[in-house]
Every structure is written in C-alpha cells, then in structure tokens.
Symmetry: D2
Subunit: 405 residues, 4 copies
Amino acid sequence: MTHLPNPTPLDDSLRFLSGRLRATAEALSTEFDKTASERDKRGGNAKRERDMLRESGLLGASVAREFGGAGATWPEILDLVRLFARVDSSLAHLYGFQHLMLATLRLFGSREQWEPLHAGTVEHAWFWGNALNPLDPTTQLAMDASGSDYVLSGSKSFSSGSVDSERLIVSATDAASQKLVVLWLPTDRPGVRVLGDWDNMGQRQTDSGGVRFTDVRVHASEVLTHPGPLSTPFACLRPLIAQLILSNVYLGIAEGAWQAACTYTLQAKRAWITSGVASPADDPYVLARYGEFFLELASARALADQAAVALQASFEQGEQLSSEQRGATAVRVAAAKVASSRAALNISSGIFEVMGARATSARLNFDRYWRNARTHTLHDPIDYKLRELGEFSLLDRLPRPTFYS
Amino acid sequence: MTHLPNPTPLDDSLRFLSGRLRATAEALSTEFDKTASERDKRGGNAKRERDMLRESGLLGASVAREFGGAGATWPEILDLVRLFARVDSSLAHLYGFQHLMLATLRLFGSREQWEPLHAGTVEHAWFWGNALNPLDPTTQLAMDASGSDYVLSGSKSFSSGSVDSERLIVSATDAASQKLVVLWLPTDRPGVRVLGDWDNMGQRQTDSGGVRFTDVRVHASEVLTHPGPLSTPFACLRPLIAQLILSNVYLGIAEGAWQAACTYTLQAKRAWITSGVASPADDPYVLARYGEFFLELASARALADQAAVALQASFEQGEQLSSEQRGATAVRVAAAKVASSRAALNISSGIFEVMGARATSARLNFDRYWRNARTHTLHDPIDYKLRELGEFSLLDRLPRPTFYS
Amino acid sequence: MTHLPNPTPLDDSLRFLSGRLRATAEALSTEFDKTASERDKRGGNAKRERDMLRESGLLGASVAREFGGAGATWPEILDLVRLFARVDSSLAHLYGFQHLMLATLRLFGSREQWEPLHAGTVEHAWFWGNALNPLDPTTQLAMDASGSDYVLSGSKSFSSGSVDSERLIVSATDAASQKLVVLWLPTDRPGVRVLGDWDNMGQRQTDSGGVRFTDVRVHASEVLTHPGPLSTPFACLRPLIAQLILSNVYLGIAEGAWQAACTYTLQAKRAWITSGVASPADDPYVLARYGEFFLELASARALADQAAVALQASFEQGEQLSSEQRGATAVRVAAAKVASSRAALNISSGIFEVMGARATSARLNFDRYWRNARTHTLHDPIDYKLRELGEFSLLDRLPRPTFYS
Amino acid sequence: MTHLPNPTPLDDSLRFLSGRLRATAEALSTEFDKTASERDKRGGNAKRERDMLRESGLLGASVAREFGGAGATWPEILDLVRLFARVDSSLAHLYGFQHLMLATLRLFGSREQWEPLHAGTVEHAWFWGNALNPLDPTTQLAMDASGSDYVLSGSKSFSSGSVDSERLIVSATDAASQKLVVLWLPTDRPGVRVLGDWDNMGQRQTDSGGVRFTDVRVHASEVLTHPGPLSTPFACLRPLIAQLILSNVYLGIAEGAWQAACTYTLQAKRAWITSGVASPADDPYVLARYGEFFLELASARALADQAAVALQASFEQGEQLSSEQRGATAVRVAAAKVASSRAALNISSGIFEVMGARATSARLNFDRYWRNARTHTLHDPIDYKLRELGEFSLLDRLPRPTFYS
C-alpha cells in the first residue's frame, strides 16, 4: 500500500496531534511507507530513514521547550509512535525508545545529568540506543583502581537502536553491591562494540542485536544514581512508558494492516462463487470480519488513549507522584498492552480472510504485519499482564514495579 | 451479595456523577439490592421500588432545569442506569427508558407538545411506558368521523414499563398514509388495556408485556408529527439513546456479576486440590480469569463512555445536528453495544468458573445475571451491529437510521 | 420442544446402540421429554421417572449377562446417558451414576462383594446413590467396640441420587489409618438420613443434596478394601468413568439445546429487518452460527466417542490394565471433558442468538439448557483439565489418578 | 528442529500406516526435514526432493496393485500427506495433489483413459501437476479444423506442481458448449509453457505459478468426458479428496509447529521472572497453552480421520455411490477442513507465546509454520464452509457439489 486513507471522523488516535510536529511526522511517514516493505526484506540498519528523523527535529520532541525541544506530552509522543507504526513498526519502535531513553535520564538521573543530555540531544540530534536489559545479568560495573571511575564489562542482547546511535543507556550489575545500576555512554567510547547482529523474523530494522563492553571506562557522572532505577514512584514510570510505547507500536501495526486490507478489498473484483453478491465489499461475512476488526481496534485505542492520559498526569506529578497513582496508571497500561497485543495479532492474521489467496504473493509482503506483531508482542509474556490485571480486579492489588510492569 | 465494594481508582463509570443526584441514586440502589434477588424470583411489577423512584425525584432527572428537572446530561443519566443495573437490571431498564420516553417527546414532537409533558413529569412524577414497537405492524391510527381526532386500535408486545405507568408512548400505522406515527397517551385513557403478561426468563420486572388498544380516542395534539419519528438527524438520535441505555444496562449487569464473584471468591477458603496454592485468590487460573473480566469490562466501559460523550455532543446540536455527526455517534454507540453485550454474556457465565460448584445454589440466585444479560442482549441482533461496524470500517458508510440503529 | 428429529446420517452418537435396550431407552426418553421442562421448574425428586427407569430394566444394563444384566459396554451406557441428557440432563446424570456405582463395587471391591450386589440390582431394580465425595473430610469410619464391625458418622454434600435410593456408595476417613475408605450401605440402614436439600439453579432433579450419618453400623463385608479405592490401575478407572459420564451429559445438553433451536428457527417467520432475506433460515449469520454449533458438537462427539472406546478397552483389561493404558485413556477422557463442557456452555447460550428475543419467554424455559450446563460443568475445574492435557502434550506426563482425573 | 519425537500413545494419525510404505515415507520425511527451513527461504522448485519422491515409488502409492501400485487407501495416503506436512508442507501438498490428479483421471475419465495413465505413473514415476482451476475462465478448448482434435489456448494461475512435472491435468472452457472440460497432457507438449513464477509468502516450494497454453494440440482421447467433471456422485468425490488433502496438510503444519515448540520449551531454561517456578515447563500458563494446543489438535485429528474413513467408504462405492452418501462425506470433510484450518492458524501463531522472544530469530525460521498455514488455508474461504455446515445442521441440506465442496 502506498497511500494512507484520510483519518475518519472516529480516528481518535489523531486527536492529540496538531501543528508543525504533526505535519513533519506525516511527511516522514509518507516517505517511510514508500520503502517499508523493501526495507523489511532487507533488514539491517535503516540509515537513511534514521537520518531523516535526525534532520526532522523529531528526535527531541519530548524535550522541554526550555532545553530546545518541542515539549510534546506523552499522548503526543505516543501518537507519533502509532503514526509511524502504521507504515513501519521498526522505525516506530526506535522513535518511541528514543523518548524512553530521554525519559530514563530524567527519571533515574539527577537534574545535573539529564538537563545537558536533553539539550545535547536537541542540538546534535543524537539517536539513543537501549542496552538496558535486566534479564542479561552478566554485564558488570566495577570501581577502577583509581577509585573514582568505573570499568564496564560484559554484553547485552536485545539492544534496540544500538547500531548508528550516538548515545547508549546501559544496565549493569554493580560489582560491589550486586545491585542493578543504569548509566549512559557515548556509543563511540573505546571498548564499546555494537554487534549489529539482529536478524529476526519481524521488526527487522530495529537493530536489536547485541552490544559488547570490553573494559569500558565509565565516569561516575554517567551513572544514574539519583534517584536511581525504580527507586521512587516517579522513577518507576520508566517501565510504564516502555510498555505504552510497545502498545502503540502494536496498535499502529494493527491499523496499518487494516488499512492495507481495506485498500485491497475495495479493489478486489470477484466475490466468492457461492456468496450471491457482486463484490467482496458486499459479502456479509467479509463485512462481519471488518466489523470485528473495527471493534478490536476501537477498544484497544480507547484503552491506550486512556492510559496515555493517565501516564501524562502521573508524569506531571514528578517526585510528588504517589505509589497509588503510579499503580493505577500501571493497571491502565497493562490493559492497553494486552488489548493492543491481541488486536495486532488477530488483525494482522485476520486480514487475509478478507483478502483471499492472491494476497499471499511475496511481492505484496502483507505477512510483515503479522511478523512484526508476532515478534514484538513477545517482549514480555501477556499471560503475566493478565495475571496483574486479575490481581487488581480481585484483590485491589497494584502491580509491583519491575522493568516490565 | 448485600454489599457493594467501594469504587476503585479506575472506576470510570462513576466519573460523571456528582452531588445530590448521585447520593439519591446510591441510596436507592442500596435499597433495590436488598430485594433484587427475591424480586427476580417473583417477577411481575416492582410497585414499591417504582414508587421509591417516583418519590426520589429521579424520574425527572433529564428534564431541563427550566421545567423543574435536574438537567442531567446523557452521560449522567447513563451512569445512573449503569449504577442501578449492577443490582437490578430490570429497574435500570425502566429507569433508562423513562428518559428515552422523555427524549422521544423532545425529538419527535413540537415544543408545544414536549414542554408541558416534561414539566408535568417532574411535577406529578409520571412513569412513562414504551409501547413503541415498529415490528408490531397491527396497531392502526385512523381519523375519526369528526375529522379532528383519531381512533387507535390494535396491540403491542414488548411494551416495557407499561404496567403501573401514568403515560405511554405508542407507535401505530397511520391508516391514511400507511406510515409509522408516534403518539403519547395517558395510560388510563378508556380503551387502553395493559396486559401485564410479561413472564420471561430474565429482566423479569420490566413489565414488558402487551398493551391492547380498543377504539382509543387520540387527540391530534397527542400525535408527534413535528418533526415526527426519524425525520431529522436530531430526531434520529432516539434509537441511539435507546441503544446506549441498553449498553449501560448490559455493562451494569457485567459489573454486578463481577462484584458478586469477587465477594464470593474472597470468602472462599478451599483452593483446588491440585492447584498447589492456599486459596482461590492465589490460583493462577482464577487470577487470569479475573484479568479477562477486568479487560473486557474496561474495554466496554471505555467505548460506552466515549459513546455517551458523543451522544451528548450530538444532542446539544439540536436540529442543527448533521447526518455525519449523527452517523459518527451511531458508530460509537454500535461499538459500545457489541462490546457491552459480549461483556455481559461472558462475565455473567464466566463468574461461575471462579466460584465453583457451590455457587450454583438456588439460594444465591447467581444465575440471574446471565438470565438478565441473555434476555436483554437479544433486543436486536448483534450480528447486524457488527455488519454496520464493518460497513463503516471498510466503506466509510454511516449506519442508516432505523429504530434499531 | 416435544419432538425429537430423526437422527441424521452423521449422528455418530447413535452408532453404538441397537436392539431392545435402545428401543426401551428411546421410549423412556420420549416420556421424560414431555414433562422435563415442568419438572425442571418444580425441582425435587423425579419419583415417577425414577420408577419408570426401575421398571424398564435399564438400571442393570451394565451388569454382566451372567448376573442377569444386559452386559452393555461403556460406549453403550454412555450413549444412553447422552440420549437421556438431550431431554433431561438430571435423569441422565442419575442414570449414568447408577452405572458408576455398580462399577465402583466392581473396581474397588472383591468378587464376593460385587457379584451379589450386581445380581441384586438387576433382581430388585435398586437405584444407587453416590455419597462418595472425597472433598468432604468429616465423615469418619471407626472400628466399634466389638472389633468386628464399624461405625460411620458425619455428613456428605453433593450426594447425587441419594433421595429415593435403595443403596448408597459412601466414602469416609478411616479413623485408624486416616485413609479414605469406600463402602456401600442400604439407604434405609438406621442412622442414615438423606436430607433431600438439593435446590440449585440447574440439574434440579439430581437429588444431589446431603446425607447425614449418625452412628451407622457398617459391616466389614460392606467396606470395599480389596483392592480398595484408586489402588490399582484398574481401580483407577473409576474417576474416568465418572468424568466420561459427565462429558456425555454435557454433550446431551448441547444436542438437546441445538435440537430445540433448530425446531424454533424453522418455525420462525420473520427474518431481521435489514437482513435482506425472507426467513431466519436463509440468514447468513444464522447459518454461520449453526455451522459453529455443528462443528463444536461434531468435535466434542468425536472425542467423547474415542474416549468411550478407549475406556472400554481399558476396562476389559481388568486387573491386567497397565498404568500406561489407564493414563492414555485418562488423557482422552480429559480431552472429551473439556470439549464437551465448552460445547454445552457455548451452545446452550448461543442458541438464543439464532432464536431471538421471543425465545426468552418463561413458558419455553429454554434457559434450562444453560442452567443445567453451567451447574454441571462445575463438577471440577476445567482449567486443571487443560493443565493435565498440557502436561501430557509437553512432557508426556500421564495424569496422576485422583477422584477427578 | 532436526528431530521428530516418537509418536505418543495417542498419536492417531499413525494408526493407518504400516509396513514398507510407512518406512519409506518416514525415511524421506527425515531427509526433507534437514533442508526444509533452508528451502523455505530459497523458494522455487524442490528438484532434489521431488526426485527422491520419484525414486521412492511413493508417487504411485494410490495406484491399484493390478496396475503396479501399492493400492493404498485414502486414509493411508492422507496419513502420508500429514507425515510430510509436519516437516515440509510444500512437499506434502505436492504429494497429496499427485494422488488427486490420479483420482481425477479415475473419477472423470473412462477406464480406457485412466488405466494406462495409472500404470504409466508407476512405471515412469510421473509427477502430475494441477492446472485445473475453474476460477480462471479464459482457457478455451476448441475443435480444430480437422474436426477430430482440439486446440487449447489461454492460461491458468495457481497450477500447483506444474514445474518439473511430466503430466498435467487441465481445465478449460469448451468453445462449443461453454461448459467446463477437464483433460490431461504431457507437460512437454508443444505450446505448453510452465511459467515457474510462484513466489508467495508461504508454501514456497509448491510451484503453484501459472501455465500458458498457446495453440496446444489436444487429442480427443485426452479429454475426460466419460463421465466427465462433477457429473456423477462418484465424480463429485474429486473436490472432497482435494479438501481432505488440504485438511491434512493443515494438520501436519499444526503438528510440526507443536513439535518444534515442545522441543524448544523443553530446552528453555529461564521461566518468567514473576512466575515463581523453576522452568517454563512448570509454568501454569505455559501448560494451559499446551493443553489448548493438544485439544485443538486432537479435535481436528478426530474429525479428519473420521472424514478419511467416510471418503474411503464412498470411494469404494464407485459409480454406485449415492448423492446422500457423497453429501454426508462432504459434510465430514467440511468439518475437518474448518477444524484443521483453525488448528493450523492458532497453533502456528500460538507457539510463540510458549517460546518467547528469542524464538523469533530468523535463523530458527519458526514463522514458516504460520506463513505456510496462512497461505494454504486461503484456498477457499472458511466462512462458506461454515455456512455449508450450518445449512446441514439446520436444514439437513447436503452441500451442493462444486470444485470447492
């Protein structure tokens, strides 16, 4: 599909966006769309498109105006993520995680740390990569001989956006305390080796391969210890931002698949031989399936938008944020996560039912929606999100903060 | 269950309500709850509870303040419907349809007609019954010999709230034009016979039996011809109000069933013998089922609330309402209808899985949630609502106004 | 519905039955059908129908020919259960459990014990009740002062078929060993008090209320200790027989609901107003729903029939039965149990979608299919059956014998 | 996965096979498995594996012993299809359609036509391609000037197995009567051009591209007119064989996906961080998902096996086959088709939930199960199969024979 239909009167996902930011993102999205299918087949790093993002100024969209950014709210950022995900869910993921990395500095670090990095991101159009993966326990951060700096060693898998990045967020185990620490680094720091070895069935241009750290020097000022990871309710918003970015990527995939199917069905000429109708668009079963797509999209969108509003309200509380408000936001995010995962999986597979056998041509590459959805919805298990929702539903128990909830 | 848990931080359904109206409704709801199970078994007319509604002043809640009412918006009215439906979905239906009848006067009739009737409803606490059923074609309205009045003959089925009503809204076929006309009548007008023959497996106190009309005199001023039924986009809001009242009744049933199950599970002592956990509230499968309940409720609630807001915005347009805005509201209402129907059916049946065999005791009467949901969700077929959603999703086609869409 | 359609060419459920047994059962089923709805409303003991079963000779159907019985195989017995369940799932349960009680004597007891009891059942048309409920731990069996007999005290809930029974199977905790023992008793033994207090939302004539034992004398010869409960693979067939009887009751409920719906739809005259077809039987959505009913029934039937054949093969092994063959049979039974539970729940609720609002009239009593299915499928949790299937699927682990698997 | 687990005690799919045929097929399957993933990525013609099939003697398995074949029954052939499909659903499809082509000669042609072609297939190990596609109406067969032979022109899409075939079955429109005719041809007949242009997202080695016919001479003896296509109930078995081959391909895909998942889960070391268990194989949610896989496989298998037995019984009737028996077989086949389609789609997507994010590595190529299932289950719409089942369920109406039912 090379063309996006106009937003319908019900397209809630567009309601947050306005002005220059929106226009820029739409123009980029149109460009991304032209090559998304071909780049999916190729895999690897989307250098050209990443540079377009750099040049667009959108990398600093979430940075406050006082530091040169656009001061976009979370609902606005998430809407851009969803917009990109309709045509290219790899770039959408990278774009969303750019803002997760900026938020990580803000949430885990001190004002002295995050302010210059936010400003620098706007000024230099830095792309941030994510080497924060708490399930890889082997990366160690040790005090060096001098007693003032640190040395980082080990490796990380699933480091989205690591290739062609200027900066990295990294998690490690502190050798002394055996606790998890989070730090940032310039990607070109000696000893950092970005492997660029991501080759998966979906989300093929997220550069989510490994990063190896060999005796990498880390300055104390680069370690985010005040307040530190998951230390306060406010710091605990980090996983919620991550989860809601994922949810909007899933939603965008579902919307993109639905749009592709609509275009295809409307051009299809032959209804099924025993249907008794003139065209697929009159087929009662085709229409019922589109009705189900609509309902699943509308439900997931409503939950995702509610969660985005709740996240913004929590974020604006800063360090005043209570555990209760953070927890209530976590529940909303979890609901959005499950609903959008299911929508993405069901719709990206279900569209074939309304398109028929000819839609499986490799040239059309319509399977990429499912491959992207299937890959990305495995980030963390949906069954445990449901359990969290059940604990809240039955027991009023708020989700315990982890890097996944 | 004799006790309703406090609203949780996520209980969106309560967000519209405030003040005196809310407090009155909550007090009534507590009273209704005490006898709801017993009255379900008995069936027939809930005379005592209907009189409590009359005395409460809530019958005129949607009447504008200038005519003595509370000026409640549709989101507020629908929230009261949902609140009542948690404990008694028959009374909730009657209460919702009271306001549908008042809206019918407003939407189909002239200012000269509806203003005094709205004011009279507040003043005299009239309960309105609904004998508007376009699928019963036998009721005829004919000009009488004098040429100024009319005579009404025939009968109506499914006339909710007809027993113990002061006023009725009636549909009939105009003998001259063969078109559908809608009129109002005092229930005690000679020749009107309310049969009181409703005896169904669910919604047992909705008094939805038949009404027979034998040569009933109808004055021209009682026929709602300006603008008349489904005549303008604004008049076409009537079915949307009806459908959204139903949706909120369904939602309330689902919420009530869920609340009953929570209370039961939390009191249950014995986990399943091979579960390896101490109590049902720790059982991973029980928690996953509660997670599904939560998600289905949250989705349906979000869609119903969005639809309520859209309805209010459309309603406030009055005769300026465009077909497009009416149509977009209709799509939202249809989505809420399907989602709430499914939530009510799935949750009212699914709660037994988390409660177990002892919860089937007739004394507990937990099957009434499903009987109510199953009965009421058949108002009009869900399959055709899905088709409407599909037509919008694929073809941008807005629902064609009928008495059901 | 007062009439059963002829079996279709695909009606596998009838393939096992033949001859006199079948004709007798069909005649009884026709009689049961006439009053089933009315008796559902009444609840309590189906004395007249139980006596018809006594007189029919069908109570001894599973007794070997050498002891005067019909020598029916398990597939044959289960088919009778399913046949009865189509019209009356309470009587079907009682009839199935009659044969479970006879099998319990055979599986847990010595030849000296079960032979005369089997013969006596045929001769005197004894109806057996089931007071074997291992989840009620309070019933105690203690050696009496003489050292030769026992004394039984305590009470049992869920004792299906206890009212109007001649004999009971009872479980108790042995006071000395604290192990579960199983014994039989004449129901009129002094100190046995059948409470007749079953009053549940479904399966209303199964007499599944409580039994209280007050210093009841039990002879050593009445305690089934050789080989004893769940002692050998052969003895461990008892729960499989129970589970497969339940499965066939569920299947019969689903078939009965489907038959009632077919009859109703074929008589219905009015298709939905926007359907564009002449009658409900032409409606594409109605047909798709019947297609789903068919598929779910066909699947569950196939699994239940395979399990019945496997059960018979295991049963015929007698004490030579291996744990492996018993386990493989248990897996088949578990699959049949889950599939038939779901079929019964989905179809007994789903039929209303193809029948519409008028089918909710209390007079028709169509909700009894769902009430029966919902009540009976809670016998033990389906989630743990799925877990068993998963353990077999992933780990080749056979179900561990308990009274539920 | 390079290793197939041993069949479990419940593996019904193996029960038909025995002896040499089975051993040969198993050996081939092991070979196919080694390269299946790599060949999926490559696409195009599986020349080496097709030659292995030629050399194995399995191409003539369904040919009667009197003509040199193995005289395999349909249950046996379908079991080989399922066996191959577990590791390579493209080869399974080609192998199944080989026997469909042989059956087409038998069902549509005269004894004089099919006997030598069956014998020749065994003798020369001919691979047959399928250019019978009634939805491509442009291929025309016209009497040539001489009045004795014909000329074939036009093209066919979806001609499975056309590349590297020795013989083709072709459908065309008879220029004189405008009716569909079916004929056979040597693939190397002048004017036949096999395009080899199949490049789809799944089933990538089925060579299902186009064939172009340019003034191809066809002898009268090559046109299958006695009894001709879909002419008698026996001839109408052709689409049932096709549909049941598809069903067994779907089932094999589902079984292969499940096997791959089992192997992966059993090797996985890390359970989810909040699961509280030691390994994924202990996770209650993982086990429940495996339980669902088992149930869906067992149901679809049971229906497919019943259908295979019914097909064989119908086939053995020859021209004595009644419309009723053919219709009853069609219903069974339709049920198997829907159940196996769903099993293949659900399981090939669902396995990722039990394997987690690392299973999306392109190296593992686990998405091929879904790509194959998704592509192949679109052969003809499942919604219309459900409608057929509904028509039978409600109306006792047997499916009307077409090339798809």
